[in-house]
């Protein structure tokens, strides 16, 4: 009996630097796609609630396409399609290029979920709030800025938190686009040392360190800013 597969944390210690680097790759991708998808998602949400049917239609089309396409396919489109076939080069350095392609794919995919959360948030603001704002003479911008959006943003904090946690976990799929992050490192270590429990636990804990505090933070924030109705 050799219990190395059950108890030996040696491989993790030996490769600690590489593991940390791999998780930094995950964090970098998650942060940048988080910011990107927040911007793109807000633009899409604005399109979907705008009074212009063309913009509403275009926004709905985007949501239908990217919510129903698997992330793997979106990321493969970025690597095989955008980069290899259409020769879209963002950087001459292959690893930087891979990072940006993965970021684009993650942003495009996550933005559709961000947009749907934001839209659901706007829809929870009762119509009476806007009517009251208009009746005391606030202009369109004022009612949006002082009454509607503050309430909408507070209700979407918890759903947005769920979207971001899912996105952190989804960064593992960027492996399909050839980007080096935590799951790619785990795969490599599995190939070298075999699929031992300590390696799996190490990476699982690494991801929990990223996802659990995010959950607690958004939970705390949404309770703190909850709209009293």
């Amino acid at each position: 009996m050799n219990l190395h597969a059950l108890l030996d944390f040696g491989p993790l210690q030996q490769n600690f630097g590489t593991v940390l680097k791999a998780f930094w790759g995950t964090i970098r991708l998650a942060l940048l796609s988080g910011i990107g998808s927040l911007i793109l998602g807000t633009v899409l949400a604005a399109m979907r609630v705008s009074p212009t049917p063309v913009l509403r239609g275009a926004g709905a089309l985007y949501i239908y396409v990217f919510r129903n396409t698997p992330l793997t396919l979106v990321l493969l489109f970025c690597s095989l399609g955008l980069s290899d076939t259409l020769h879209l080069q963002i950087s001459h350095d292959p690893s930087t290029n891979g990072f940006w392609l993965a970021t684009i794919g993650m942003t495009i995919y996550t933005a559709s979920f961000v947009c749907e959360s934001l839209r659901a948030g706007i829809n929870t603001v009762p119509l009476g709030q806007a009517e009251a704002a208009r009746s005391i003479g606030l202009t369109f911008t004022q009612s949006l800025r002082l009454v509607v959006l503050p309430q909408a943003f507070r209700t979407v904090i918890a759903p947005l938190g769920s979207v971001f946690i899912a996105m952190i976990k989804n960064t593992t799929v960027a492996l399909a686009a050839g980007y080096f992050e935590a799951s790619a490192e785990m795969k490599q270590m599995f190939d070298t040392y075999g699929g031992t429990i300590p390696i799996f636990l190490g990476f699982a804990i690494g991801f929990m360190v990223l996802t659990l505090p995010t959950g607690f933070f958004f939970g705390w924030l949404s309770k703190r800013l909850a709209v009293a109705r």
């Binding site: 219990l3 597969a5 609630v49 049917p53 793997t72 493969l76 075999g194 699929g195 699982a204």
Partner: protein, 315 residues
Amino acid sequence: MTLSVDTPSDASARRPTKNKPSVLFDAPGPRARLRNNIVTLVAVVVLLFIAYLIIARLDQQHQFDGKLWKPFTEKIVWTKQILPGLGGTLKAAGVAAVFALIFGVIFGLGRLSEHKWISVPAGAVVEFFRAIPLLIMIFFAMAGPPAIMDAFDRVLPPVSAFLALVIGLTLYNGSVLAEIFRSGINSIPKGQSEAGYSIGMRKGGVMLRILVPQAVTAMMPAVVSQLVVLLKDTALGYIVAYNDLLNNGLRLVSGNFGNTIPSIIVVAVIYIIINIALGLLATWLEKRSRRSRKSSARTLTTAAGAPPAVGMDSI
């Protein structure tokens, strides 16, 4: 949730869709209508320009050439490559869905147990699998068992990609379903179980005859939309080289014909059609459940998606 209110004006009678007020906008008057028309014009120009950029780029790289699209008009490509791939996807999704539902019922009810020695481990398992990415579970399901058996000096054949995919999907989606079941049961007013106890039913009877039947109606839409997520996640099979729709569509078809982008588009359209169909089913179930008077629980919506992560409960 609908926000539109009928406005009794001549204009709204003529063009009812455009003139409904929303929480953001009042019913437009003549000036706002003019402004909306200008915005529409600008939007059309900008959207057409974006579409032109995409099409021009595709055309520049000769992606509209007939020879790239021709394979999809041939019967053999569908019968030998795409449809078997679709079958693989549906098989993995179907098997994983059944096991995930069983896993979800066991751990959802386990977490509701009054015995701490059942509810705490069940909760820990559920939260563990929800907090880590599905892909590393699939990798571990593939490489783990042989390595662990090796420790006990037994030789285990490598786990197949299909099995690894099903195990990963079962553990992850089963944990999410467990949370859905738990919140479904918890959403039933306390009076229901109290009424059960007061007429002399036991714990098991209250659960089986009062809580579960009402909860099923309430949580059906959420369950179906989680199954859509499961179906989408089978695409991870591409990474572990399982012959699913994505793998057959991209490795076989575009490997044979060198038509990456047309293959991606065709495969994406198939996924979108299946997922929209399942999504419509979830929406229909949700509407039916809202109308239903058989359950005293509030319907768990499809829009919310997965239940909140750790730290975000009780909102």
